[in-house]
């Protein structure tokens, strides 16, 4: 399932834009735009999403090429971590107060 908004029948398709704000950070979804091809999508992203120096690197991905999880099956997808508190450091109370733990 593609991201919402990829209709597939527009003259210029929609692209999702990811921007790295500075070195050391991940690319984060900034928004979307329309462009005829990937070369122009990248340039449009630069003009649209980094006018104020917001980025040092950009990814563009055709919206139709993104695979997303299905919100209808979110329980099956995201239920499992519940009840597995032992994955979190705060679960281990007896070691609280001991230095360097």
């Amino acid at each position: 399932m593609a991201t919402a908004g990829a209709t597939g029948d527009e003259q210029w398709p929609m692209w999702e834009v990811f921007v790295r704000a500075s070195r050391g950070l991940s690319h984060v979804h900034a928004g979307s735009l329309h462009a005829p091809d990937e070369t122009m999508a990248l340039r449009n992203a630069r003009d649209l999403y980094t006018r104020r120096g917001e980025g040092v690197s950009i990814w563009v991905v055709p919206a139709s090429e993104i695979t997303t999880s299905d919100p209808g099956s979110k329980e099956a997808f995201f239920e499992s971590p519940a009840g597995k508190n032992y994955r979190h450091a705060t679960y281990y109370e007896k070691s609280q107060g001991v230095p360097h733990l």
């Binding site: 919402a4 929609m14 735009l33």
Partner: protein, 320 residues
Amino acid sequence: MSTTVTSPDDELQADFDALIEAEQRIEPRDWMPEAYRKTLIRQISQHAHSEIIGMQPEANWITRAPSLKRKAILMAKVQDEAGHGLYLYSAAQTLGIARDTMTEQLIEGRARYSSIFNYPTPTWADMGAIGWLVDGAAICNQVPLCRASYGPYGRAMVRICKEESFHQRQGFEILLELANGTPEQKQMAQDAVNRWYWPSLQMFGPPDDESPNSAQSMAWKIKRFSNDELRQRFVGMLVPQFEALGLECPDKDLRWNEETEQWDMGEIDWDEFFDVLKGHGHCNAQRLQHRRQAHEDGAWVREAAAEYARKQSAQLKAVA
């Protein structure tokens, strides 16, 4: 809901209501009531159209800006508006309507946009008045929308509000320069403020008791404050700013009411508002024609780029 039979739709509705109640955001692929979707598409696309049409009254002065610094600021501002239109069209598109469709609706005159942009900008001082009053009112409206229950709309508004923080200030500074300038300049500033003051108050929409859709939008947490509440706040902010500018407020009846703790305002001419809304503003036809012309003149360019992309990907496939 006291019904004992729960259909799948009821369950979905209950999930949706619970998310809204818990101040959670609704995201694009979530189930949502059809009316919620329609309301959002209407509101966000209108908002986007307003940004795009709103470029014109100011673009009108880019070539004549009276200093190079002002020219650069104005260009950057009008350019921002194109960007804001784009952010909003993207947000609307997540609800299942393509930008091409929204553009068609706009240029065919089937979509609404803020009627404020159907007023003309005869002088340079209008650049100041638009920035100070129109952007000021827009920011007042938009800041609470950053918390709108629909995620993409809220996120677009955060970006827009951040970028717009300079729009109102630059407008104020244009007026300040004029107000402290030659007598002719000061008059120009006062005239522009006189022309834009009342329309900017109308931007908050009709009074609460005549605003049919407001209650539902508040319940859905798209809207957070009523039209009249926002208008009150805006006027309250303007009062000291008028003083800083040394310009007169066109509302001679405006005063603080100790009892109600509200601003008592002069009568807003709602007949004029609805008249402009119906298309009888100074510039309705001009604004649409400008947009239509740009769209039609650009058709061959958009087509060429799409065709080039088709050829390129066909070539790539042939090689592979």
